[in-house]
Symmetry: C2
Subunit: 546 residues, 2 copies
């Protein structure tokens, strides 16, 4: 026997959370008036025991999949621990998907139990009869979920044999103490499906080991910088890459966790920041743009907030500067994917910042975090120098990086090779591990054989005072193969010429968009990113203005 026989499993986090950090707090907003429900990690531990005993009574065993279709709440957090620590796999279903996609992922995963918010039952009622493997539906909340099978109105869900209320399941097992099984660290703990823009969603299974290692890395000062002193606002949905792993990071390190359920409107978030004295958070840029706008309008007090890890898509420098200047809040850009979890790079200020350099650095995707390694490859798959100049596809590897898609050999074959993951992101890496992402591979604009970065043009446009939103896409061009077209939302009327003049300060002339489309709002994906696929399709069908 050797050191290391003690496995890296979430069971350790569960034990640590309910004892060492038993005094730390979990707060869930439960209604539109901002009412909250509060508990401690110690009390949460007791409820996790009850939930685990309840799931066992439903027949959940090691290796079984249990789905959640839920907002960020205490109950969802309880499932985050009870399911993996039983040795089962937590499948966090993306509630922003279409009902058909929800059904596809649940069938693909073969989930035996579905835990669902009462408010979300109606939305998937139509596809419930298609769920081939679900034996039990556990409903969070006391709301009447209607008579979905048209028989007697008692809350039956058509086609599904068993409907149980979450609270009743826990009450039936109150005071239960669970003998948690000893698990192998390479056992799957959780399962997320990527909201792929083409084809069916692809599943990424996280082992206990993966989630534990990510939890350890994100405690570091130069990554997510979480400690027991923190009160974290969990804005990222718990169905997106495990809520960026914040639930386990908080549990391991003892940070308080504030869960907003579906109340993600800026007024709610700003009130939570003020009332709950939030110190840290995370999310996509659009959410934090909304928060900024609301806070500016209402002279909000964001003084407790210190670090916000923002990613999912390029973070506009204007957003970072505004938070820094108005509120002293560090909006720190990070880069991640479902396949690699968030924070694979983080763009903290270098130790010795110096004027210009500071914002140049902070506008980058960030520096590679411990346990991750990156390289740049060209279209032939050859490795390019990490010199900050050569542009190519970013490949990544490490013990946190997935090595396959769940039950999907074709997608696995196309994406993973020789221990490396093709990220589909295009950019540069320098010798100190700083990444600049110029585009998603599919968003790349190739004009006259040279790459034009849509992300850079978007940042440039957003710096214009009249521009609220911007998305630049490629349109076919007979001479140059592709040329950039900019879709923008502006506060006042502004001429395309003025915008190009504004961009000309920062970009080569041949980078400037050939045409502009002015919209009332940009279409967004389920994750809140601008949906370029929809833009391309609309524009292909001649819809050039609204």
């Amino acid at each position: 026997m050797h050191a290391g026989d003690f496995p890296l499993t979430l069971t350790h986090v569960l034990r640590r959370m309910r004892t060492v950090h038993g005094g730390s707090e979990v707060v869930t907003q439960v209604d539109d008036d901002g009412r909250t429900v509060r508990t401690t990690y110690a009390d949460l531990g007791a409820r996790i025991d009850s939930l685990a005993a309840g799931l066992r009574s439903l027949g959940v065993d090691q290796g079984d999949r249990v789905a959640t279709l839920a907002w960020n709440s205490q109950e969802h957090l309880e499932a985050y621990y009870a399911v993996p620590c039983l040795g089962a796999v937590l499948h966090t279903v993306n509630l922003r998907q279409s009902p058909e996609q929800v059904a596809y992922t649940i069938n693909h995963a073969g989930d035996r139990v579905l835990i669902v918010d009462d408010s979300l039952v109606a939305g998937i009622a139509a596809v419930l009869p298609e769920l081939r493997t679900v034996e039990h539906v556990v409903v969070i909340g006391a709301r009447d979920i209607g008579d979905t099978d048209g028989t007697d109105g008692t809350g039956d869900i058509g086609g599904v044999p068993q409907v149980i209320r979450y609270d009743e399941l826990l009450a039936a097992h109150q005071g239960a103490t669970v003998e948690w099984p000893e698990l192998d660290e390479r056992l799957d703990a959780a399962l997320c499906y990527t909201s792929g823009t083409t084809g069916n969603p692809k599943g990424v299974a996280y082992t206990h080991r993966t989630l534990m290692l990510h939890t350890l890395v994100m405690g570091a000062h130069d990554t997510f910088r979480v400690s027991e002193q923190d009160r974290l606002l969990s804005v990222v949905p718990m169905f997106h890459a495990m809520g960026w792993n914040m639930p386990y990071i908080a549990g391991m390190l003892g940070a308080d966790l504030i869960l907003p359920k579906s109340y993600l409107q800026p007024a709610h978030l700003v009130r939570l920041i003020e009332d709950e004295k939030i110190t840290g958070s995370s999310g996509v840029p659009t959410i934090w743009m909304d928060v900024l706008r609301h806070a500016d309008e209402h002279h909000s007090d964001l003084s407790t907030l210190s670090n916000v890890l923002v990613g999912g898509t390029q973070v506009p420098p204007t957003l970072m500067r505004a938070f820094d200047e108005h509120y002293g809040v560090s909006i720190v850009q990070g880069w991640g994917m479902t396949e690699i979890l968030p924070g694979a790079t983080v763009a903290h200020d270098p130790p010795r910042p110096s004027g210009q350099d500071r914002w140049t650095r902070r506008a980058m995707a960030g520096r590679i975090s411990p346990l991750y390694e990156v390289r740049i490859t060209d279209e032939a798959g050859d490795v390019l120098p990490s010199d900050g100049i050569a542009v190519g596809e970013i490949e990544i590897r490490g013990p946190i990086v997935a090595t396959e898609y769940y039950r999907n050999p074709e997608a696995t074959e196309a994406t993973f090779h020789d221990g490396w993951l093709r990220t589909g992101d295009v950019g540069t890496a320098d010798q100190r591990g700083w990444l600049r992402i110029t585009d998603r591979a599919k968003d790349v604009i190739k004009s006259g054989g040279e790459w034009i970065s849509s992300a850079d043009l978007e940042s440039g446009l957003l710096a214009h005072p009249a521009v609220l939103e911007a998305a630049v896409i490629a349109v076919p061009d007979p001479r140059w193969s592709e040329r950039p077209l900019a879709c923008v939302v502006t506060t006042t009327d502004v001429a395309p010429e003025e915008l190009n003049e504004f961009l000309a300060d920062r970009f080569e002339k041949w980078w400037l968009p050939d045409s502009y489309v002015f919209l009332d709002a940009l279409p967004r994906t389920g994750t809140g990113k601008f949906d370029k696929k929809v833009l391309r399709s609309r524009l292909a069908h001649g819809e050039t203005d609204t």
Copy 2:
């Protein structure tokens, strides 16, 4: 294939250090005048390649053991990476041991190569012929090492076939690029022997995984709190529990590393703190008591220093308060052992400190760190409650905790059981993971069936203005079985009655020492701790005063 196939090996740290943190600095003090040699992690990487190529040329292969007998220096640091990343095992020999113990550990480990400081060759010359497995001796430094075999004075070392100068070995392989092998994370990377107070030293082998996990845990804010912003003074000898793992922590997180070689006198350390703008360090209390005294006398500038992790033995609260009040330096108590590495507990201020509570907490061994779990057992081996009251032996487990002694089944059998390590430390644990260590099991004083804490009495005595050093030991007593005897070093004459009166404010009457012995200095072990074994033996032989 699943996430996690990428192993947790030090090779990742090596790659990261020389690229991502290639600009960070390594500084070695090389003479008594304070002259330093400086390099970057990038340049260090090139030298590590040369060393690895050199070691390979000497026949070092995977699984082989390579010994170092060296102070903290750049060369020692190079061996820290080259040896384990070749798949060989770095045996850091304790140079404070007797030559016979040095020979015992090298023979026991079966080291094939010995890398030794020129200044240390003479000290082990007598036992060199007894080293049965060493084929090559590599000498760091250019100093004449004498004619140890009495033949020709050219620097031959008697009985050892091959003597090579370290610098010549590197020069012969300058510019080499090494294909680092892919290693299993459960391969042994390093080997330390504990300076056991009885019997032969016992070896603890650290796997790559163990050192990597410790490195990750120690980056956290509530443990060692290291980041790229830090300049770490590596005071703990690199042969004690891997220099408390600071070399790898610094390499992984990009902290600068300042190595004092043998210049550990307070004047040198204080000058390094001032000149090199040290931000963090670690060590045993005695070293930091000496630093405090020197700094106070010379009005030194310790303003850059922020955190010092101190452990190895109980840290006197007076030391912590003085550093806090005079310099604003946080002396943070930690607890560790060779078998568990340092920082298994760390006594940072709780998030919401409150007057008295702050110093009570900080006087404890600390709170259990992530990846460690503890429990308290009685003499029958039954588990006692973690209520902060029940006193018993502390047991610990986790993926960083050793599970055996190297090639020593008897010692393994006596210390490890059911995944737990019997630490030999006695104390309490509370439900929030805070440990109070009242004694080493062998230092316990059991009087009338009740435990008296020698560590508590020592802290109490040190609070008296005239007391410089204090060690309390048990002496046999016909009525109470054992009674405490205090050995003290004082600045002025002070009567035992006065000291007992001073202690009476804090302790029950039956805790007070029955007798005092006044000494000029307390004997110390090789690691700088007070040597109670020597005290007990001296006192048993009637030596009660000096």
